[in-house]
């Protein structure tokens, strides 16, 4: 039987909530993306929380919040512990996106859903793959092969192909078939007839204009504002679509020799561009070709300045400028702050290049007509002073005490255990939820840190000999004195050589920009002060689609081309999903599914299959004929023991029409379509009757070749036959 496949959306269906789906292939549970909106609302993740511990592998497709935002939180709090698979750019840029997001949040709130350490540890589990790399899963997933393929949209963006027993499940969301300035179009169309295709309906109702014209409009809009003395704010993501915008702007500025400054402002902008510079092989062919031939790296960005804090921007004053700042949703981050400053001036322009996430400030501003005023919260992190500082310090002191108390209790527990006591010792403290969580921490400290029992503690009655924990440090002696370990005294040559290289430890910490590091390392106690205010929106607002997703028409034709046996639609407004569903259901013979959140659908293919071995004897008798890319033969055989055995009688049956017209033309015939028939030469017609939209199943066609008796007739017939395998 075929491979069993089930899909359960955990979020991101019938709407624009973040993407997160559960795919089970023969019981192996993949989590497809792990997104979170910029609002970071843990309640969004409830469906994920239920299944997180059972996940066997996570596949990430794009380096932005909507596709991987919840990963650190899920790893930390929801018990997600599976290995994560992603391409190198998705890993790097995703990491930077999360850093940026955390820093933006942390500066304006007591953000505690995850920390930078959580981000680091979540991304440490990532297995990095190359495009088209077939990765074999092991153990539980034995026999499953996963491979990332080019998706377009974002750098490193991935269409995942999951193969088991020759059946493909393809997960392709947010793909872009168009070639862009920095990215290749998706290779999705090269997959033909997969068992299941999971794709999104996000853009099913949108259609785009020509890219060149769109780019021109975009630049024109900017220049108009700049020329009239205004500034432009482009709220962007950290390391995704912004790369495309930067390239367009940098190139245009270079060509026109424009002097208006362009600033790219995120917490991690310099690192982002540094890494992007070394990802040329992931970009489009003309960029890698340009580099191979002339060693030009477009991401040197001669006309863009990379800045990582707002002070630098403020130094520049009010001169007209273009600022690309994160985050695209305007919820928090630099874009939020700059918006508040710029909104009041009619000369300015805030240009959205992507549709705002649902429920965010950006979305509010994108409605038509735009609101006259919006309420925003302006927050700032300031150092503590005076009483507050004192209170904070006292609090810290208290916490520290509690910690040490707990630690000692746990140590006590462990001591008891090490003394072979009954583990069920009735210790009221053991019930304390926190102590069990802490035990792992304390365990590692144990032994190094010898702080001891505290007074006022009653030893449990069950303990045999409550004793001060004393460990004798026994040194071994032999005839020559104390036995030493020579290794302790060795000069570590290697280590010295590598000291420079290993300097950065595991390397992850090192990658945050210095400015941001300063923010973090700055351990002065601080607090967040916020005040609500209303901002008059006087500046002009505009939206241009630079999302880099295939539009509705292309999505439809891509689906028709790929022609999956089963299609699962996710992510997209209810109307868009319904529209695409209706469209696909009427156009072809495929089965279309559009599940609701937490609705499990079974898309196991009804394909029956078994494997047989072809005996050498059989194969040597087979006369196969080349047919396009395939070779085809009629097979008659008898089933033998264990391996297929026995005779083969040749012939009986025929196959497929290729583009016969073109073929004839190549052979030098006058061919034209007239009245539904193909006229070849003067007399002969070839027509196709029966269902021209070939249905699956009994897909036999009727071809009629008609004409008077003449030489041409037989020539045409011969050519027609040559296109078929006559059996």
């Amino acid at each position: 039987m075929g491979t069993s496949v089930q899909v359960t959306p955990l979020s991101g269906v019938y709407g624009e909530s973040p993407l997160c789906y559960l795919l089970a292939v023969d019981g192996f549970r993949f989590l497809l993306d792990c997104g979170w909106s910029d609002l970071c609302d843990p309640s969004q993740l409830e469906p994920l929380a239920k299944v997180a511990p059972t996940i066997d592998a996570v596949l990430l497709s794009h380096p932005d919040m909507m596709h991987l935002g919840a990963l650190p939180y899920a790893m930390k709090h929801l018990g997600l512990s599976a290995p994560v698979y992603a391409t190198e750019p998705v890993f790097r840029l995703g990491l930077l996106t999360m850093y940026d997001h955390f820093l933006s949040r942390w500066q304006v709130s007591d953000f505690d859903l995850f920390t930078l350490d959580d981000v680091d540890s979540a991304f440490q589990n990532v297995v990095r793959l190359k495009y088209s790399q077939n990765h074999l899963l092991r153990d539980k997933g034995e026999g499953i092969v996963i491979a990332p393929h080019v998706a377009g949209h974002l750098l490193g963006g991935t269409v995942w192909k999951i193969t088991k027993d020759g059946e493909d499940v393809i997960y392709a969301v947010d793909f872009n078939h168009r070639k862009e300035t920095h990215l290749n179009g998706t290779v999705l169309t090269s997959f033909v007839r997969p068992a299941v295709l999971i794709t999104d309906a996000y853009n099913a109702l949108n259609n785009q204009g020509y890219k060149r014209k769109q780019d021109q409009n975009f630049v024109d809009a900017l220049l108009k504002v700049l020329a009239s003395g205004g500034s432009v704010l482009l709220p962007v993501d950290t390391a995704g679509r912004v790369l495309e915008l930067l390239l367009i702007l940098d190139e245009y500025w270079g060509q026109r020799n424009l002097k208006y400054p362009i600033h790219f402002l995120t917490n991690v902008s310099t690192s982002t561009i540094d890494f992007v510079k070394s990802f040329l092989e992931w970009m489009n062919d003309s960029i890698s070709k340009e580099f191979e031939q002339n060693r030009d790296n477009p991401f040197l960005l001669k006309n863009v300045s990379l800045i990582i804090n707002k002070e630098e921007l403020e130094k520049l004053g009010d001169a007209p400028k273009v600022v690309l700042a994160s985050m695209a949703s305007l919820e928090v981050g630099f874009s939020h702050d700059i918006f508040v400053e710029m909104a009041n001036d009619t000369k300015n322009l805030v240009l959205f290049t992507e549709k705002g996430q649902f429920g965010t400030l950006a979305r509010m501003l994108q409605v038509d007509p735009p609101p006259k005023a919006v309420k925003v919260t302006v927050s700032k992190r300031i150092p503590l002073v005076g009483d507050e500082l004192k209170a904070y310090e006292e609090e810290q002191e208290r916490i520290k005490k509690e910690e040490s108390l707990k630690a000692s209790l746990i140590k006590e527990e462990e001591l008891k255990a090490s003394h072979g006591l009954n583990a069920k010792a009735s210790d009221p403290m053991a019930i304390d939820g926190s102590s069990s969580r802490k035990s792992s921490n304390a365990g590692s400290h144990f032994g190094a840190n010898v702080d001891i029992l505290i007074d006022g503690f009653v030893p449990p009655s069950t303990s045999v000999a409550p004793m001060f924990p004393f460990f004798e440090n026994t040194a071994e002696w032999d005839d020559f004195g104390e036995v030493i370990n020579p290794d302790d005294y060795m000069m570590k040559q290697e280590e010295m050589d590598y000291s420079m290289m290993h300097g950065s430890g595991d390397g992850l910490d090192g990658k945050i920009d210095e400015g941001s590091a300063r923010l973090l390392l700055d351990s002065t106690p601080s607090k967040v002060v916020s005040n609500e205010m209303t901002v008059q929106v006087r500046c002009s607002l505009a939206y241009m689609d630079f999302e880099g997703r295939s539009d509705g028409r292309s999505v439809k034709s891509v689906i028709a081309h790929v022609a999956p046996l089963k299609l699962v639609l996710v992510h997209g407004s209810a109307e868009a999903t319904e529209h695409l569903k209706m469209h696909c259901a009427k156009n072809s013979d495929l089965h279309v599914y559009a599940p609701q959140v937490e609705e499990t659908i079974d898309v196991t293919s009804d394909l029956c299959a078994y494997k047989v071995q072809l005996s050498e004897k059989l194969m040597s008798n087979i006369i196969s004929k080349k047919l396009g890319e395939h070779e085809i033969a009629w097979l008659d055989a008898e089933v033998g023991k264990e391996d297929e055995k026995l005779i083969l009688l040749p012939p009986s049956s025929p196959p497929p029409p290729i583009n016969f017209k073109q073929f004839l033309e190549n052979k030098g015939w006058q061919v034209e379509f007239a009245g539904g028939a193909l006229r070849c030469g003067e007399y002969i017609t070839v027509r196709k009757i029966g269902d021209s939209i070939q249905k699956g199943g009994a897909g036999s066609q009727q071809l009629v070749i008609e004409g008077p008796l003449c030489e041409d007739y037989y020539k045409i017939r011969e050519l027609l036959y040559s296109q078929f395998y006559l059996l």
Binding site: K130, S278, M619, S653, Q694, L726
Partner: protein, 701 residues
């Protein structure tokens, strides 16, 4: 898909292949270069009608056509894929020639970094050799054109071309160096190219493929030698350099412009950083080429190892050297006081390194450090043996006083690495290439003893000497669709379409379901043919003639309007559509086509003879009349055979021969006769006459 190597044999012996071995199962591996030599790496592999060429280099010791691999041995047009492992001249420099000057039509693949450097390196090669060589193999234009045909492949990325699946692993050695694994119909070949399993400052160690290839084509440059540990070599190197310069000497490091040079610069730059007292002594790096390639090194950080990537992550690019200056030509070099100069070429054949060598070789304070493998026939190889005198570039001889040190930083595998590598991947067949004959022979011997008893074949073919291997690959087909609704039992018969894709996967299915299950969207169709034959005579004549000709001619069951129609053998419908033509219609298959062709012939025949050849009453003859006619013919023929034949009652024939009388039943053919011999003769005669008189039964229908 395990495949078993059945035999391994050199073509030289040319033993007749076993009877059951198909040609398609034979894999042939032929080194066109690098067989028992170092240089012009080029290995040809063919299996199942597909051909792969690994590497395409020139021999640095020769020039012109002599430096090329033996391309004459193969048909370039038949090569599907050419895989280039790294950018060194002995692995890539024949590529423009092969692409532009031969019939090669296939596709070329290399890694991104290799391609970027390949162009620079070859342009430089052309520029340098132009000066000394008359018959250039190719020019700059050929190189630029070749760039358009080269496709890039990333490490681990699987590519399929015409049924050949391949992917590559990091090989160490130089930036972008790869070892290629090729899979054709389940038979896997690993071609290591040059590789090193030792991680150095910027390159990762070669990966070990997680599978056991059926054949491993492996380099044997260092044979059974063993490298010193890397830190020992590095220390020796830095000590020689620092002691020489501190005594006022100059250090010449002749190195290949790319590859090891970058590694040595990383070492020197770090050493200088740690020793402030050396800061005043310049390190020159005399290669415009390497300077140009630096951008590639600075960009392709992802092909390097973790150490350098981490370093990149936390500080500036490590390839921005702080203490190294580049030097454009010897004229801009102020040769005053101690200095360290790294110059190409590595073999001291010509160029800047040779000029400096000539200038410095007489001074005993100076030192020359040869940091890598040197090819036989070059000056560098000569001076390793420390001769008293050397011949300068201008032909004069001079005493060799400068100290010559040979410290190998060459990133080729030594014996322990080779042996461990092969021990881990356990290939049943090992083909040694890229090594001098002696080294190779020793390595072969050691490997044979190492893998003794494990059924491992080790061969070291010479150039153009083919190695043949036979694989009996197990072919497993997948039955799908309605055919596979239940798993058949032993003895059941299976029939369906067998579809073989380019990638050698097999599927068995019902022809009707072809479209559902094929990836290529094949489908099945019937071809109906309708042909009109000019004929203006009476349709009755046609009917008559057809009745004469064919066993089964019936009135068409489906009458379209009132057009008379006949169905011949239930296949071909003959109808009278218009006054001037007869239309034939049938659906194509070989038998129907044959029947229809004969019908056409019959009709044409009628037209030719004209309608007058047929009598009306004959056309209207009944079956009985046919019988009577047949009887008459039988009678006449019997008379001619036996003479005295009388017609008896009810079609009985009475035959008298030499007094013996036989009665022959004209219908059933029963013969009553006392003479057995005569009876037999008559029976045979009757059978044959019947066969001639009656229409031929169409057994296939």
């Amino acid at each position: 898909m395990a495949s078993v190597a059945a035999a391994l044999r050199s073509v030289g012996k040319r033993a007749a292949p076993g009877g059951d071995r198909e040609d398609g199962d034979r894999m042939v591996i032929t080194p066109l270069g690098a067989g028992n030599e170092v240089g012009r790496s080029c290995v040809h592999m063919s299996y199942r009608g597909r051909a792969v060429l690994f590497d395409c280099g020139v021999h640095p010791g020769y020039s012109g056509v002599a430096a090329l691999p033996y391309f004459d041995e193969i048909d370039p047009a038949a090569v599907d894929v050419l895989l280039v492992t790294h950018f060194h001249l002995d692995h890539a420099a024949a590529l423009p020639y092969f692409l532009e000057k031969t019939a090669f039509k296939g596709r070329v693949f290399m890694t991104h970094a290799t391609k970027a450097i390949y162009q620079l390196l070859l342009l430089d090669y052309v520029r340098v050799s132009k000066a000394s060589v008359d018959d250039m193999l190719f020019d700059e234009q050929d190189i630029h054109r070749s760039m358009d045909r080269i496709e890039t492949v990333d490490f681990h990325q699987a590519v399929e071309v015409n049924g050949i699946r391949f992917w590559c692993y990091a090989a160490g050695h130089v930036l972008g160096a790869a070892m290629f694994a090729v899979d054709i119909a389940g038979a896997r070949v690993l071609y290591t190219g040059d590789y090193s399993r030792e991680e150095d400052r910027h390159l990762p160690a070669a990966e070990t493929p997680p599978f056991s290839p059926d054949v491993c084509v492996i380099e044997s440059t260092y044979g059974i030698q063993q490298h010193q540990p890397r830190d020992v070599r590095e220390r020796r190197f830095t000590e020689i350099v620092s002691s020489t310069v501190s005594q006022g000497g100059r250090v010449l490091i002749p190195a290949y412009a790319l590859g090891r040079a970058q590694e040595l610069l990383l070492i020197l730059d770090e050493y200088w950083s740690n020793h402030p007292e050396l800061h005043k002594i310049p390190i020159h790096y005399a290669s415009a080429l390497a300077k140009r390639c630096m951008a590639v090194y600075q960009t392709h950080m992802s092909s390097m190892n973790e150490n350098i990537r981490n370093k990149f992550g936390c500080s500036s690019n490590p390839f921005n050297f702080k203490h190294v200056e580049s030097l454009n030509s010897i004229d801009s070099f102020h040769d005053v006081g101690p200095s360290v100069v790294m110059a190409s070429p590595g073999g001291l054949q010509s160029g800047l390194s040779r000029q400096l060598f000539d200038r410095w070789c007489e001074d005993g304070k100076n030192a020359c450090v040869i940091p890598g493998y040197v090819v036989a026939g070059t000056l560098a190889k000569t001076i390793i043996n420390e001769p008293r005198e050397v011949t300068l570039a201008n032909g004069l001889t001079a005493p060799l006083n400068m100290q010559v040190h040979y410290i190998s930083f060459s990133a080729h595998a030594d014996f322990p690495q080779t042996s461990a590598f092969l021990g881990e991947i356990r290939p049943p067949n090992i083909v040694l290439v890229h090594g001098e004959a002696n080294e190779m022979a020793r390595l072969k011997q050691r490997l044979v003893s190492q893998f003794d008893g494990t059924n491992t074949n080790v061969v070291s073919p010479k150039n153009c000497q083919s190695v043949e291997m036979f694989f009996r690959s197990e072919k497993v087909a997948k039955a799908v669709g309605s055919l596979a609704e239940k798993v058949p039992n032993v003895g059941d018969s299976v029939s369906g379409l067998l579809l073989t894709t380019k990638g050698f996967t097999y599927q068995v299915m019902d022809p009707d379901e072809l479209r559902v299950y094929t990836r290529a969207q094949l489908s099945s169709a019937n071809i109906t043919q309708r042909i009109s034959v000019p004929y203006s005579g009476s349709f009755e004549v046609v009917r008559y003639r057809l009745n004469q000709m064919y066993e089964s001619v019936e009135e068409s069951a489906v009458q379209e309007s009132d057009v008379p129609a006949l169905v011949v053998h239930q296949r071909v419908t003959v109808s009278r559509d218009s006054e001037t033509s007869v239309t034939l219609q049938w659906s194509s298959d070989p038998i129907s086509d044959m029947v229809s062709d004969s019908v056409v012939a019959v009709i044409l025949n009628i037209s030719r003879k004209g309608p007058k050849g047929v009598r009306a009453e004959e056309a209207a003859r009944t079956k009985e009349e046919t019988e009577r006619m047949a009887h008459k013919v039988v009678h006449a023929l019997m008379v001619s055979l036996f003479g005295d034949v009388k017609a008896g009652q009810e079609g009985e024939l009475v035959i008298s021969v030499d007094g013996d009388v036989a009665h022959l039943d004209g219908k059933s053919g029963d013969v009553e006769c006392e003479n057995a011999a005569l009876k037999e003769r008559i029976e045979t005669a009757f059978r044959r006459i019947q066969g001639a008189v009656r229409p031929i039964p169409l057994s296939a229908s």
